[in-house]
Structures are given as C-alpha cells and as structure tokens.
C-alpha cells in the first residue's frame, strides 16, 4: 500500500476547530465550519471533543456500501476517490462509515471525504500542538 493515513487521538483534542477552519479554507477558499472534510463533534458542557475525519481505513465500508460504485481507493494516495458523475448523493456512504468520517455538502449534494491534501494534510499542520491529528506514513 502506498500513501499515508490520518490518526486521531480524541483525548488530545482541545476543540479549537483550527483543523476544521483550515480544511475548509484549503478546499473551498473560505473559512467555515460547514465546508470542511473534517469536523469536531463537541459537547461544550462536558468538554468532550471528537474529531471526525476519514482515516483511510483498510476495509473501507463506504466503498462497499456505495450502490453505484462511485467510491474507490486511489492506490497512489491511499485516499477514497469519488466519481462525481456517478454519485447520486444518496448519503449511504455517510451512514456506512463507522468513524463518522464522511461529511456531506448540501449544496452540491456530494459527500466530502478527506483527500489528505495531496500528501501534506493541512489539519495535521495546524494541530502540531496539541497533536490530536497525526499523519502516519506508510512505512511507519
């Protein structure tokens, strides 16, 4: 397998949303909480924060679940690739991911899946402290 993957340590997440804002900025050109491929589920009262993002798992249930075969693994980058033309916007992949790692863009009616920013994930860069999201290289 080539390409990397993301590893999330929710216990280290401080809920700052830097990853979310940066992801939206890198992919959509503007800062928002809705335009990112990562989100942080937050309970502000109990201070529970859980980053949700595709972790490029080995057995991708989203690929299996897609009824129109619009999802596949990009062998070069190890990311989940979306065939935009084939996708019908049914959201089955969103529900199939056990990690809640797939978002959905209501405007384009397409899933939002992490593309690892082409190899240097911006979320990892802005999370150097507290290091709740790390990039795992394929060979350790």
């Amino acid at each position: 397998m080539s390409g990397g993957r993301l590893e999330v340590d929710a216990a280290r997440c401080t809920g700052c949303n830097s990853c979310v804002l940066t992801c939206a900025f890198v992919h959509e050109g503007t800062f928002s909480l809705s335009g990112a491929r990562i989100r942080v589920d937050a309970d502000p009262i109990s201070a529970e924060y859980t980053p949700r993002v595709c972790i490029q798992c080995a057995e991708a249930r989203c690929i299996v679940a897609c009824p129109v075969n619009a999802l596949s693994r990009d062998q070069g980058t190890n990311t989940i690739a979306l065939d935009e033309a084939a996708c019908t916007g049914c959201r089955i992949c969103v529900g199939a991911c056990p990690y809640g790692g797939i978002g959905f863009d209501e405007e384009s009616r397409r899933p939002r899946i992490c593309d690892l920013c082409g190899g240097a994930p911006a979320c990892v860069d802005v999370c150097r402290l507290p290091e709740a999201i790390r990039s795992i290289c394929p060979d350790g």
């Binding site: 216990a11 280290r12 401080t14 809920g15 700052c16 949303n17 830097s18 804002l21 940066t22 939206a24 900025f25 959509e28 050109g29 503007t30 800062f31 928002s32 909480l33 809705s34 335009g35 937050a42 502000p44 009262i45 109990s46 201070a47 924060y49 209501e106 405007e107 860069d125 802005v126 150097r128 402290l129 507290p130």
Partner: protein, 633 residues
C-alpha cells in the same frame, strides 16, 4: 460568503423590539480595525454621558474581532462594551470560546443592544435571520442549563453568550459567559445584560463563511504566527500547565498576594496542590481546551472524582480564580477552589471580585466590624471553605449578606463604615487581579491607568520581568536597552506600558488572544498588520496598526473623561500605596508610594500627549489620531 473587510452592526432596541443593520464605513474600519476598536467607536457615539449603567440608555455592545472565523492563530476573542455599573466608567470585557467566530459566520460582527425588555428574551442570530425570542422559562437558570436548553431548540451546534443568576440579580460584577465556560468578566457587563432582560445571545454559524482578500498572504502570515508561538517558552508553559501553573512560580518568589493582600506567600505544599502544574498527575485535569483557532490551548476542564467536592466539573480554573478564591481567602484546598470556580462559572460571577469581596468580609470580621449574625450565621474566618462557597451563592442571588458584597468592596465598606475602606483593596471601585504591584511597577502603572479598573486585561506588561529572551527583546525594542527588563524600577515604565497598551488594543480589535502579543510575544506589530491587511485588503503598516491601538486607548480616555474621570481616579488601592508589605522579599520599598505613582503618571501622560492635570488628550493629540470628533467631548 462574507469578506473580512465587511463589518456589520446589528442594532437591537429591546424596548421597541426593533432591529436594523448598519455597515461600518471603510474609513472607520481602517482607523479602528474591528472588535474592541469598532466597539469603542460605537460606544463613543451611542453612549450619552451620565446615563444609568443599569437603565435602558446604556448600550451593550458585542464586538467580534476582525479576524474571527478565520484560522489565524488564536482568533477567537470577542469583546463586550458598555458603561460599567461597578466603576461608572468605560468597560471593555472580553472572552474566547467559539461564540465570536459563530457570530461572524451567522452574519454579524457587532451587536448594539439598547432598551429594556419587559419579559426575559433571547436574541437568536443565524445566517440571514435575527429574532427576539421569549426566554421567560430560562430566567433563573444557571449558565450550563441555559446553554443546554437553547441547544435543544436547534439541530446544529450553536454558541451562546449568556448570563447566570448573578446577571439577573444585577450583581455589579456579573459576567457574561461565552461558550459556557469563557467568562467576559470584570465590571459587570452581565448585570447590564440582566438589566435589559436579555438572558442570552445565540449565534448559529450554520453554513456561513468568511473570505479573506489575499488568501495566500494570509495563510503565510498565519503560518509564521503559529510557528513563532510553537517556539515560545511562555506559550509552551500555558499549554502544559494553564494560567494557574504560575501559582507556584509566584509563591516561590514571594509574589502571591494572599489573605486580602496582607501577605505574599503561602505554604509551599498548598501552593503546589493549588497550582496548575500538579493537576494532571493528581487526576483533576480532564482536558486541555482551546478557543476558536487557538494554537496555545491554555484553557482547562477539571473534575473532582470523589470526596466532599466529588462531581465538581467545570471549565478552568484560571490563575485569577485560583488565587482570589484560594489564598486571598486563606483557602488552601484545591478541591474547594474547583467548586468555587464551578459556582462562579455557572452563576455568572467574576471570580476576582467575588473572591476579593469575600476576603474583605473575612478581614472585616476578624477586625470585629461585622458579626456572624450579620453574616447570615456564617463565620467568615480565613480559610473557611463553607464561608467561601456559601457567600458565593448568596452574592449571586443578593441574598442576605450577599447583597452587601454584590456591590464590591468599596460600596460594602461605605455601608459598614469604620476603617473598613482601608482594606477594601480596590481602585475605581474594582478589586485588582493578584499581581504584586509593589514589585512590578509597570503593572502598577498599567493598573492605575486602565480605563476599566485595576487589572491586567487591558495591558499586560509581562516583558518587564525579562523572563524569556523574547521578553527581553521586546524591552530592548521599546526602551533601547534590555536592562530595563526589571520590574521594580520606575524608569521607562511609561514607555513599556504605552507600547503594551497599543499592541493589546490591536490584539483585541483583531480578536486575537493577548497571550500572543503581551505574554508569549510570538506575534509582533508587523505580523498583526500583515494579518489584518491580507484579510481585509486594507493596506496597513506596523506603525499604522499601532497608531490604531493608540487611537483606541485615547478614545477610551475621552469616554472616561466625559463620565467625570480625573487624575485622582488613576490610582491604586490604599493598602498597596500605604501599607508596606514586608512579606515581599527583596523589595526595598514594598509600597507604591504616591510619589512613585505620580512620577510614572506624569511620564505616561506626557508620552500620550495628555495634560498632567486630568490626563486629558490635548487637541493636537486628538487631531493627530484622527479623533477630531472627540474635540468637544
């Protein structure tokens, strides 16, 4: 998508239930930047001098910093402004969390609330819509409960700015709580909110977004700022230990004002358990937290597992909460302090004024001016956890003795009489944060001239201690000689304070955390200008942006002069100026004498171009700062 250069004011009149929008003119954005700056401009314009701070005519202004919603490091701060019901002067208070960013995503940068609602209301703001909703059923609820019930009304995440019972009961130092645990404290903005019948402001970010004018430049400037902060030792300490990590630091050097400022040191063992450096190992630290876009993450969430305080869980506590509720009241049990913190957060109380008012009562009791009967049967002796926690609840509800303390120490001492004013450790009617001013003269001057009262959240001058290479470099740049990075000399304090004021004001206006520019020093004037210019497209040099900070400080001065401020108000607590504190070791003259303060004030006024009689800006000063509109007061 909204652009960072557009700033929208939502005006709300609660008496007439009217709302309208105003676009801030670009020239005003250029001169006042955003956040606190635009808030100052609105307050000058909309506040009539002499109005009742708890009446309908006191505008309550919420201002999100100019960079909020972006990922610029620490861009999470919102400011609240009004005339303070505690001091009668200008009040700026601020907090982080995620409310400010959510407000901008919801389409609003500033909210100016006036009037009074007959029944409790919530102001609900989301992209494309603003609404005043009934909040009768929320009145009386604590902060957590308020947030929880408001969140139940919405499928998406919301952020709230709300008051607890203290604000409803108009405690003169009631907080507004942002994102549940982030307190906009000092000076009673929560009481103003309560007087208006406004229980909460809700911001629902939804699918709102913020664009910047030069994405590449902004990204580069943000990266540089983040990298600088990662390398900064102060920022690193804040991440690991939180602000309360400094309890042991201050105690070790005998600079921990305790027992109502009578001593400066507590038992080492007590300090260790109270200080943030021990919380992780002791199992209290559940999580480190960060405000929106934070890269420091100083905030904490702490829990107590079992024992008499078992089940206590809340955001914080911060250094000020620990020192004012703990050692200042003689309390050394960290678990009791965690409970004090939880109460202050949920009731919406300023922990500094609460702890200080209780400490004043303890000394008043010790000196025989008040009896246990007068204190509702509570025996307010030093170290009594029962007194600390029982009085905190009473203050929030103005219950019994709590009503006396709810107006702070100056007002309480006027009612109790005798010499009790001497140990009402206050200036402008407000208790100071716990900095040993006698040996930190930059702080002493900054506290004396702070327009909102004596604390560190308008001007941190931490560089004067020279504790890190970054701090010494800042002093070198300000004064031309890093040898001035010693805190117990009068020389150059005016210069040091003024520079820190300017950069603090800019930091507030942009919505960044003061720890980036006046504590960790990872972001300098050049980076601030770069971030602002690339975000807004408004050209800005480092000199211009610091001038904008000076402009804010000067307009705040003008607001206070309009409210009747004189040079005599630029002072420090009587105890600090008159009772030598020999517990402060290594300090030759352990008071800030009138002569010392006067020397610093003269130098400070001269630097500002303010007269020495009142500290009033000269007409020429106002013109140079493009503040002609303030010429006629």
């Amino acid at each position: 998508m909204r652009c960072a250069n557009e700033q929208v004011v939502l005006h709300v009149d609660l008496s007439y239930r009217k709302m309208w929008h105003e676009i801030v003119p670009e020239m005003v954005v250029r001169r006042f930047l955003g956040g606190r700056g635009i808030g100052d401009w609105l307050l000058w314009r909309d506040l009539k001098p002499g109005v009742d701070p708890l009446g309908p005519d006191n505008p309550l202004i919420f201002s999100a910093g100019a960079l909020l919603g972006t990922a610029a490091p620490t861009a999470g701060r919102a400011t609240i402004l009004c005339r303070s019901p505690l001091t009668g002067f200008y009040l700026k208070t601020g907090a982080g969390g995620r409310f400010g960013a959510a407000l901008r995503f919801a389409g609003v940068d500033h909210i100016a609330v006036r009037g009074v609602s007959e029944a409790p209301v919530v102001l609900w703001i989301e992209p494309g819509s603003t609404e005043i909703r009934d909040a009768s059923e929320l009145w009386g609820a604590g902060v957590r409960e308020t947030h929880r019930r408001l969140q139940e009304d919405c499928e998406d995440s919301i952020e709230t700015a709300c008051i607890g019972p203290a604000g409803e009961h108009r405690v003169r130092y009631a907080n507004v709580m942002l994102s549940v645990y982030h307190s906009a404290s000092r000076g009673g903005a929560g009481a103003v909110m309560g007087s208006k019948g406004l229980k909460a402001v809700v911001a629902r970010p939804g699918r709102g977004s913020i664009g910047v004018m030069d994405p590449e430049g902004f990204h580069l400037a943000s990266d540089r700022a983040r990298a600088n902060l990662l390398e900064d030792p102060m920022a690193n300490n804040l991440y690991h230990y939180g602000t309360a990590g400094d309890v042991t630091v201050f105690n070790d050097i005998r600079r921990l004002p305790s027992k109502n400022w009578q001593v400066a040191h507590i038992e080492d063992e007590e300090a260790e358990s109270l200080g943030g450096r021990s919380w992780e190992e002791a199992g209290y630290l559940k999580r480190r937290r960060g405000c929106s876009a934070c890269s420091i993450h100083c905030h904490r969430f702490t829990e107590v597992g079992d024992g008499p305080y078992g089940g206590t869980a809340s955001g914080g506590p911060q250094l000020a909460t620990v020192t004012r509720g703990g050692p200042n009241c003689g309390v050394g049990n960290v678990e009791a302090v965690f409970r004090f913190n939880e109460l202050c957060n949920d009731l919406g109380l300023d922990a500094i004024s609460t702890g200080s008012s209780i400490a004043w009562l303890m000394e008043t009791y010790e000196r025989g001016l008040i009896s246990s009967e007068q204190a509702d049967g509570i025996e307010p002796v030093w170290g009594s956890e029962e007194a600390l926690l029982g009085l905190t609840g009473r203050i929030a509800h103005r219950q019994g003795i709590g009503d006396l303390l709810a107006d702070e120490t100056l007002a309480a001492s006027q009612r109790v009489g005798g010499d009790s004013w001497q140990w009402a450790v206050q200036a402008k009617g407000m208790s100071p944060s716990g900095v040993a001013m006698q040996s930190a003269l930059g702080y002493a001057l900054a506290f004396a001239v702070n327009p909102r009262g004596p604390d560190h959240l308008h001007t941190e001058t931490i560089a004067e201690f020279g504790a890190t290479p970054q701090a010494r470099e800042v002093i070198q740049r300000i004064t031309g000689d890093e040898r001035y990075a010693v805190s117990d000399i009068v020389d150059k304090r005016g210069e040091i304070v003024r520079w820190h004021e300017d950069i603090y004001a800019v930091t507030d206006a942009l919505g960044l955390c003061a720890f980036t520019t006046t504590c960790a020093y990872g972001i300098d004037e050049g980076l601030l200008a770069k971030l602002f210019a690339t975000a807004t497209g408004v050209p800005m040099s480092s000199e211009e942006i610091m001038t904008a900070g000076r402009r804010m400080m000067t307009l705040e001065r003008a607001i206070n002069l309009r409210e009747g401020l004189t040079r005599a108000d630029d002072t420090l607590p009587w105890r600090i100026m008159n009772e030598p504190n020999h517990d402060l070791t290594g300090v030759e003259d352990p008071i800030v004498s009138r002569a010392k303060l006067d020397r610093m004030l003269d130098a400070y006024y001269d630097l500002h171009g303010w007269d020495r009689e009142r500290g009033a800006p000269a007409p020429q000063t106002l013109r140079e700062l493009d503040l002609e509109f303030a010429l006629d007061g």
